[in-house]
C-alpha cells in the first residue's frame, strides 16, 4: 500500500473501525498527571495539546502550543501491561477424594488494538516475543494476547531528553512490527500499512493519496525527532565490557545511590521477571497459582534455602544492568534495552544507565 493521508477530523473512523471489528482500543490518555495507556473510545480521550518533559528522575506534563494528539513520547506505562499482565492466574488445584486435581483456569483473551505504539515500543514487543514465544518454552498467556492484538504505531516527531533509541537502533522511525503506522502532521496523518491486516483496515478508512508535500513534511517531522535525541549509549562490545567488569568499583558506588526499589525494571518494557504465589482458601482446598511481576531488585528474588544470592544492592543493580545490556544478548540474540529511557525518567533518584555504562567503559579493566 502506498502511503496515504487521513484528515485529522477523520481519525475517529479508525477507532470506530477497530471497535467495529471487536477490538478493545487502548492508547494514550492523560491521567494521574502523566500520559498513560488506558481504554480509549474517542479521539477526545487522546492527550490533545499535551506534551511531556522528562529528565532523570523527573516527568512533567506540559501544554503544547498546538493541538497535536501524539505530541509527546513514552510515559510510565508500557504495552507489556496488556500483553504480559501484572497479575495472572497460571494454574489451579482442587482437593478431591482422589487427591489433587490440577487445572488451567480458563481465561478470556482480550482483543486489543494498541494505538500510538512508538518505534522503541515495537522493538520492545519484539524483544518480549523472543523471550516468550521463541525459546524452547512458550508462554501461553502472552501468546494468546499477542496474537489477538493489532498494532497502530505512531512515528515520533520529537524526543525526550531521556530517549536514546538511535543508540539502540530501535527508532525513532517505525519500520516493522505494526499493522498501521501513522505520522502526525498538523492537518492529518500519513498512514502506512505494515501487514495484510493493516492494509485491509486501511482500505476501510476515508484515506486520500498522500501528496508529495505531505510526504516531505512527514520526513521533516520525523527528522526532527532524530535531531532531538541527545542521549547516547556506546554499545560497542558492550556484552564483553559489562560481563568482563563484574568487579568494577562503579558497582559499589552505584550501591550508595540505587534504592533497589524495582522501578526501573517495572517500567522497562522488556523486563519479564515474575514470581508465582499460592493463593488459597483457609482450608486449602482450592488453590490458585498467581503469577505476578517481580524484579531482580527484590531481596527475596534470589532466595535459596539458607540465604540470598544477591544479598546487597551492588549485586542487584549489577544483575539488572548486565542482564539488560549484556547477558540478554547471549540469551535472546539482542539487547534487552530498546533505548526508551523509561528507567532513567522513572528512577526516583534519577540513575541513568547510559551514564553508568559510560563510567564503566571509561575505567574498564
Amino acid at each position: 500500500m502506498p502511503a496515504a493521508f487521513l484528515e485529522k477530523c477523520q481519525l475517529q473512523t479508525l477507532f470506530d473501525a477497530l471497535r467495529g471489528d471487536g477490538y478493545q482500543v487502548v492508547g494514550p490518555t492523560v491521567s494521574q498527571d502523566a500520559i498513560v495507556y488506558d481504554e480509549i473510545r474517542t479521539v477526545d480521550d487522546l492527550p490533545r495539546g499535551w506534551t511531556d518533559v522528562q529528565e532523570p528522575g523527573k516527568y512533567r506534563l506540559e501544554r503544547r502550543e498546538d493541538d497535536a494528539l501524539f505530541g509527546y513520547v513514552v510515559g510510565p506505562h508500557s504495552w507489556k501491561k496488556y500483553l504480559f499482565p501484572p497479575l495472572t492466574t497460571v494454574a489451579a488445584a482442587d482437593r478431591t477424594d482422589a487427591g489433587w486435581a490440577m487445572s488451567t483456569p480458563a481465561a478470556a483473551v482480550p482483543r486489543y488494538a494498541f494505538v500510538g505504539v512508538r518505534a522503541c515500543e515495537l522493538a520492545a514487543i519484539r524483544v518480549q516475543d523472543r523471550v516468550f514465544l521463541e525459546g524452547p518454552y512458550v508462554d501461553p498467556i502472552y501468546k494468546a494476547r499477542r496474537e489477538a492484538t493489532l498494532i497502530v504505531a505512531v512515528n515520533c516527531t520529537q524526543a525526550a531528553a531521556t530517549c536514546f533509541c538511535t543508540s539502540m537502533n530501535t527508532g525513532p522511525r517505525c519500520t516493522a512490527g505494526f499493522d498501521l503506522a501513522l505520522t502526525e502532521l498538523p492537518a492529518g496523518f500519513i498512514v502506512e500499512a505494515g501487514s495484510d491486516r493493516g492494509t485491509a483496515l486501511a482500505a476501510r478508512l476515508p484515506l486520500r493519496e498522500a501528496g508529495e508535500q505531505d510526504l516531505a513534511q512527514a520526513d521533516e517531522v520525523r527528522e526532527r525527532a532524530v535531531n532531538d535525541i541527545q542521549r547516547r549509549m556506546n554499545t560497542d562490545g558492550i556484552r564483553d565490557l559489562l560481563l568482563g567488569n563484574l568487579e568494577h568499583p562503579r558497582w559499589n558506588e552505584l550501591a550508595t545511590r540505587c534504592l533497589s526499589c524495582t522501578n526501573c525494571t517495572m517500567v522497562c518494557p522488556t523486563c519479564f521477571c515474575t514470581s508465582v504465589t499460592e493463593v488459597s482458601d483457609l482450608q486449602g482446598d482450592h488453590v490458585e497459582r498467581q503469577r505476578h511481576w517481580d524484579s531482580c531488585f527484590n531481596l527475596d528474588f534470589s532466595y535459596m534455602n539458607g540465604g540470598l544470592v544477591r544479598n546487597n544492592v551492588r549485586s542487584r543493580y549489577r544483575q539488572w544492568l548486565t542482564h539488560k545490556l549484556a547477558s540478554w544478548i547471549d540469551q535472546f540474540g539482542s539487547s534487552g534495552c530498546v533505548g526508551c529511557g523509561r528507567c532513567i525518567t522513572w528512577c526516583p533518584v534519577g540513575i541513568d544507565l547510559t551514564e553508568e555504562v559510560a563510567a564503566i567503559r571509561e575505567t574498564a579493566s
Binding site: A91, R95, Y137, D139, L246, V276, S280, A326
Partner: protein, 278 residues
C-alpha cells in the same frame, strides 16, 4: 493451544524410604496410567514438585534412568515445601512438572575414566548417572565416586555402596567430622580428589554436584590434576519458579539454570561461577 508450562500432573507417593535424618526418597507414580507409562527422563534432569497451597521446588530425579512406572526423588527437608512433603505418607498426592533441564552427558564418554564428586545432597542428582555406568560398566575405564558428607551418619545410600563396589566402582567416602568408629577419610572431597591417582587425565571426565563452594574447589582441583575445563561437568542451583526460562529467577550470568542447565560444562560457567552475588 500451547501447553501450559505451569500445569502440574498429579502423582501419588508410592513408597517412602528414609535415607538419613531429614532425607527420604519418594517413589512417585503418575495417577494417569498413560502418563506413567510414557514418562522418561535423562540422568541429571529435575522435576518441579508441587504441593498446592505450599509451593513448588526443583528436585532432581535420583531414579534409575531406565525406571519404569516409579520415579524416585531423594529430598532433604529444607523449608516450606520439603517440610510439608515430609509430613505426607504413601498414597498422598502432589503435583509434578518435568522433566526439565540438561543432563549428565555420561553416554558420550564411552571409553573414558569417570570421576563422580558429590557433596551431601549432591549425590542423588548423580545417582542416575552412576546407575547408567553400572549398567554399562564395560563401556568405561576406571570409575570413582568421591563422596563427602558432614558425618558418617549423613552419608546417603550406604546400603548401595557394596553393590557399586562389586560392579567395579571405587567408592571413596569422606566426612567433615568423624565419629570414633569411622575408619575412612576425613576432610573435604578435594582432599580425597587431590590424592586420587588419575592414570590418564586427558581421558578422564569429572561430574560434580554439591554446594557451590565444593564444586568450585573440585573444579579447581581437577584442573590442577590436568583435566581441562571441558572435562568437568557440574550441576548448578538457583531459586526456581517456572523451570522453563520464563520467570528470570535462576539466572547466573547469561545462563538460565533451569533450561541451559542445571548441568553445565565447567568452561561455560567458569567466568561467572563464584562471582560474589551473581
Amino acid at each position: 493451544m500451547v501447553a501450559n508450562p505451569w500445569l502440574s500432573h498429579t502423582v501419588r507417593i508410592a513408597k517412602i524410604t528414609d535415607e538419613i535424618p531429614g532425607v527420604a526418597t519418594y517413589d512417585l507414580e503418575f495417577v494417569d496410567p498413560v502418563q506413567n507409562g510414557s514418562y522418561r527422563f535423562l540422568p541429571g534432569q529435575f522435576n518441579m514438585l508441587y504441593l498446592p497451597g505450599v509451593g513448588e521446588s526443583a528436585i532432581s530425579l535420583s531414579a534409575h534412568p531406565d525406571s519404569r512406572g516409579r520415579w524416585a526423588h531423594t529430598i532433604r527437608v529444607a523449608g516450606n515445601v520439603t517440610q510439608t512433603l515430609a509430613r505426607l505418607g504413601t498414597g498422598a498426592t502432589l503435583g509434578l512438572r518435568g522433566p526439565f533441564g540438561s543432563s549428565w552427558p555420561i553416554a558420550k564418554y564411552h571409553g573414558w575414566d569417570v570421576v563422580f564428586v558429590a557433596g551431601g545432597i549432591g549425590l542423588p542428582p548423580l545417582r542416575p548417572a552412576i546407575y547408567h555406568v553400572l549398567d554399562h560398566r564395560a563401556d568405561y575405564g576406571r570409575v570413582t565416586l568421591v563422596y563427602g558428607a558432614r558425618s558418617p551418619d549423613t552419608l546417603m545410600y550406604p546400603r548401595e555402596y557394596d553393590r557399586w563396589k562389586a560392579a567395579g566402582i571405587e567408592v571413596q567416602t569422606t566426612v567433615d567430622r568423624a565419629t570414633p568408629d569411622w575408619k575412612g577419610n576425613v576432610g573435604t572431597v578435594t582432599v580425597v580428589l587431590d590424592r586420587l591417582p588419575l592414570a590418564r587425565p586427558d581421558r578422564t571426565v569429572l561430574f560434580t554436584c554439591g554446594p557451590d563452594v565444593m564444586m568450585h574447589f573440585t573444579a579447581r582441583s581437577a584442573l590442577q590434576r590436568g583435566l581441562t575445563a571441558e572435562q568437568v561437568w557440574l550441576s548448578a542451583e538457583r531459586n526456581m519458579q517456572c523451570a522453563v526460562g520464563l520467570c528470570g529467577h535462576c539466572q547466573l550470568g547469561p545462563e538460565f539454570i533451569c533450561k541451559d542447565g542445571p548441568v553445565f560444562r565447567y568452561d561455560r560457567l567458569a567466568p561467572f561461577f563464584r562471582v560474589e552475588g551473581l
